[in-house]
Amino acid sequence: MKTYLTTAAALALMAGTAQAEGKLSVYHWFEYMPQELVDKFEAETGIEVTIDTYDSNEAMLAALKAGKIGQYDVAVPGDYMVAIMGHEGLLGSFTPEELPNFAKIDPKWVDVPFDPARKHSIPYQWGSTAFSVNRDVYQGDINTLAMIFDPPDELKGKINVLDSQGEVLALGSLYLGIPQCSTDKAQLKALNDMLLNAKQYWASFGSDTAKEVLVSGDAAAGMIYNGFSAKARAEGAKVEYAYPKEGYVLWMDNMVLLKDAPNRENALKFMNFLLEPENAAAVTNYAAYTAGVMGVEPFLDEAIKTSPENNPPADGPTGVFIEACDEATQKYYDAIWTNLKK
């Protein structure tokens, strides 16, 4: 009975602090934030955190536009989606002075094209999207996008591509050496025809299954995010992540302050918390991508620090961000994607 009373009192106290310190409502990707980190933030600040999850940038945008804006404080869109949300007027702003840890952001990620000078967002994690090849099946040079779009015989019919318009069309454009938001009819036609031809070599489209098909052996090559590929390797797949010479897709997830955030102060506390190198490293250790904060090295797991997926060759090709095309141009790319999947 006494324990019961103590527990009740403790609960009441906790409820009291939670109320005093308020709440924080996070809209986040699934499996992208270790629970221990959330617990740590709650313990440090007494703020009660609730997290809802989504499984694609587009699903998040659709939900916010359908009326959930004003309900969440922060979300974690990818690079091009930050730009889109900015255009749509869905973002709140802050000044660097409001985030004491702002200076810890890696300088190369401060003035980014999708949010110049970081008025709405902070880096969360970044990585690349290319592909991995099972080295038992194919032993030749894999550092070319031809592995996916014009594959050697060993890989034909054993390729998984991401079920995601942005990544597939961007990598296809890199392979052909054409700009991402082209309005040139000949280039668009070439992209359309190249993809339609490549499709005969593909076994499946799948994003959330991208790792699993490589581990199970259903696919011998597959478009994949670098961290996902590292996890596949850790689970026993004999895969090597490629840095194709034509270039590859870079992406960066960012935590943004949303417009009409109900708990703006707490949102900024949380963003500042995530810029702390130890906390940024905790996310990296969990997700196997790369933090956009300086000074994380001492807190990183050894396996992450040395993994080939997180350390592109110094003399290798560079990655590019996916561009957000304007409406008239986007229409062509939508049509190409529908052609590909019809």
């Binding site: 587009e58 659709a62 668009l188």
Partner: protein, 308 residues
């Protein structure tokens, strides 16, 4: 026979509830209004609105969504319109897959239901229970499990190779056959249960009588049993066909998502980067119209059958 599709009003009205009739009906009307009519109406209205870039709608009425469905103006929208086959072929593919799955369910479900209905009453409960057990597991998990079973290096192929029947694995995953298998497996009980209910009510004395009159087994099945249990078969077919038509779990997981099905095409309009809500709504309206037409034709045929 002039007019009147409704059955004779033998048990309608005058049930003695009097003034309580309307208040008692209000909950039903509210339910139907809020959960059936309102969403369908909303969908229909949205299908005539203008799409907003990257999701959302602008309140300008237009037929653009239906135009996009039926007419093809080329990759750049500057060619003279011709019939757009893309979406019609997606519909056709979905209908075909759902049709094959329904037929397979019927061929397996009818004998199964017959078998169960002809056991002793105590045994029937056990058999029905066994039929439903796998369906207590989430559909997603069952579909993924099926994929594990039929994959190139899964137990099925390993067994076939181990027995020396094959020397290469049978490619099943990421084929249309796998999709049909998945749909068949997902919806089989929806076929078995209604047919079972119909067969259970069937009076087997009729079969004996026909047999006494020198009808062969085939004739008995065709002329007596099938007409008697027809409502169960029709109900089973509808219950399997309609959800199969909109399914996207099986096509995505077992078929490799290489081609759109109706369900995934609609999904993409709301969640994908295309974000074309009016078009998604228009596809849903067209699909619903088609399904309603089939159901109404079936209902008319059933009524005619009863009057005979």
């Amino acid at each position: 026979m002039a007019g009147g599709v409704l059955p004779p009003p033998s048990n309608r009205g005058g049930t003695g509830w009097g003034p309580l009739r309307v208040p008692l009906l209000i909950p039903t009307w509210v339910m139907i209004g809020i959960f059936l009519l309102l969403p369908v109406l909303l969908m229909a209205v949205y299908s005539f609105l203008t799409k907003e870039f990257r999701g959302g709608v602008i309140w300008d009425f237009t037929l653009a969504a239906y135009d996009q469905f039926f007419f093809d103006r080329g990759l750049f929208g500057d060619e003279p319109p011709v019939i757009e086959w893309t979406y019609i072929s997606i519909f056709w593919r979905s209908i075909w897959q759902a049709g094959v799955a329904t037929l397979a369910c019927l061929l397996v479900g009818f004998p199964t239901a017959w078998f169960i209905a002809t056991r002793a009453p105590a045994q029937r409960t056990v058999w029905l229970f066994l039929i439903t057990i796998p369906y207590w597991v989430n559909l997603l998990i069952r579909t993924v499990s099926l994929k594990f079973l039929i994959r190139d290096n899964g137990p099925l192929n390993e067994a076939l190779i181990g027995l020396g029947l094959l020397d290469h694995p049978l490619p099943l995953v990421n084929t249309n056959l796998a999709v049909q298998l998945g749909l068949f497996y997902s919806y089989l009980p929806f076929m078995v249960l209604p047919i079972y209910a119909a067969v259970e009510r069937y009076n087997f004395a009729l079969s004996e009588a026909a047999s006494d009159l020198y009808a062969g087994r085939w004739t008995i099945l065709r002329e007596i049993v099938l007409p008697m249990v027809r409502p169960g078969i029709v109900a089973g077919c509808i219950l399997v066909f309609v959800p199969s038509l909109g399914a996207f779990l099986a096509p995505d997981l077992l078929g490799g998502a290489k081609t759109y099905m109706i369900g995934s095409l609609i999904d993409e309009q709301f969640k994908g980067s295309q974000g074309n809500w009016p078009f998604g709504a228009a596809i849903a309206v067209i699909l619903m119209t088609m399904v309603l037409m089939v159901l109404m034709a079936q209902a008319r045929a059933a009524l005619k059958g009863e009057r005979k």
